[in-house]
Structure formats: structure tokens, C-alpha cells
Symmetry: C2
Subunit: 119 residues, 2 copies
């Protein structure tokens, strides 16, 4: 499936957040997390055209959140949870930054504390 024309998204994180930023695509992921589904089935679940599903699928595949294979005339779509990794990394990084700041704050507090211990 060729990607629909869109603005250049530099990083994987960019692709991921953009892909998941759309609620219909998240609904698609929700459905796929429960097992594979065809384009028609997804179209029925989301109540949109099959064409729309094709376009959403392209975005999800580009973000590596989904894969699909066509056998006969039906295309089966699958969720690819490994694609979530960069997202998890992004969160971890920012959580770590925060912890780091807290640690530095602790250090500061201890430093002040030990200073006060001195006459």
C-alpha cells in the first residue's frame, strides 16, 4: 500500500504521534489489538468508507503500528505492538528528565542540609 501524500515527518516519534493523534485510527488500533481484521470489517466498525480505511492503514503502516497482507481479494490487517517502542522511549526519556530534576533537587536539599550541619 503506497503512502498517501503528506508532509514530511522526520522522526519515528513524529510518525507515531501523528498516527495516533487521530481518534479513528486509534479506534482501528483498538480493534486490531483484539485480532486481525479485513478492510471491510474495519470500515463497518468505524462506519467509514473502505477507501478511508485504506488511507488510515497507510498511515498506521508507515508508523509501523500495523502490517497487512492481501490474500485473494481480501487484505488482512494486523496490529504491530513493537511499533509502540519509540513512543515508550519518548515517554521514558521525559519521565527520566523529570526524575533527574528531582534528583538534582534532592542533591540541592542535601547540600543545604549538610551545610546547615556545619557551624
Amino acid at each position: 500500500m503506497q503512502p498517501v501524500r503528506e508532509v514530511a515527518r522526520s522522526s519515528k516519534v513524529d510518525l507515531l504521534f501523528h498516527a495516533l493523534g487521530d481518534s479513528n485510527r486509534r479506534r482501528m488500533v483498538d480493534r486490531l489489538a483484539d485480532g486481525p481484521a479485513s478492510v471491510s470489517e474495519l470500515a463497518a466498525v468505524l462506519a467509514v468508507s473502505k477507501t478511508a480505511i485504506g488511507q488510515h492503514l497507510a498511515v498506521l503502516e508507515e508508523a509501523q503500528l500495523a502490517r497487512s497482507t492481501k490474500v485473494g481479494r481480501v487484505r488482512t490487517c494486523q496490529f504491530d505492538p513493537a511499533g509502540l517502542a519509540p513512543l515508550q522511549d519518548w515517554i521514558d526519556y521525559h519521565r527520566q528528565e523529570w526524575n533527574g530534576r528531582l534528583d538534582r533537587l534532592d542533591d540541592l536539599v542535601s547540600a543545604i542540609g549538610s551545610k546547615e550541619d556545619c557551624p
Copy 2:
């Protein structure tokens, strides 16, 4: 800071993915994760107008990823890492779904295995 008019975003996850779906807002978060900053400073870092920062800030605040207070004439913005929690929950849920599926696959495999043990 009053929110800029936008489409209804039902859930927190919705707000979060939308907020972080924009690369400039992520750059803002990146900067703020490193410590508080004023609107002017953020505008300088991102190379956009202060008005634009105000708008981005409103989105980040609505998603509870940032907080800001105005003292005198300068507004100081802070990153709020606790706001990431619903995002982490979303990821955990989908990762769990996957593990669940793997577990069920394991069960299936064991079931088949024990079946083959029988004559």
C-alpha cells in the same frame, strides 16, 4: 489562559495525542523538560511568534502537560510530567493486550503439545 476554539476531544488520551502530535509542541515540551521558561524564551527557541506560543501553551495546558503562572508581566511555563500518565496507561493496555494474545497462543501450543503426547 483560555483555550483556543477547537473540535471536541473527548478523552484525555485524545487531548494528549493531539497535543503531542505537533512537532513544535513537542519541541516546547523538550525545552520545558529542561526547566521553566517564559513565553518570549520559547518563542525564541521555536522561532515563532509569541502569539503562537500562547496558542500552543493553551493546548498543552488543556492536555495537562504544562502549567503556567504569570507574575508581573512575564508568564512562566512548566512541564508537568504527571500529565503523561494516561498516555502510559494507553500504551500499557495495548502492550498487555498483545501479551495476552501471546499467552493465549502459548496455551494453544501447550494444548496441542499435550494432545500429541496422547496416543
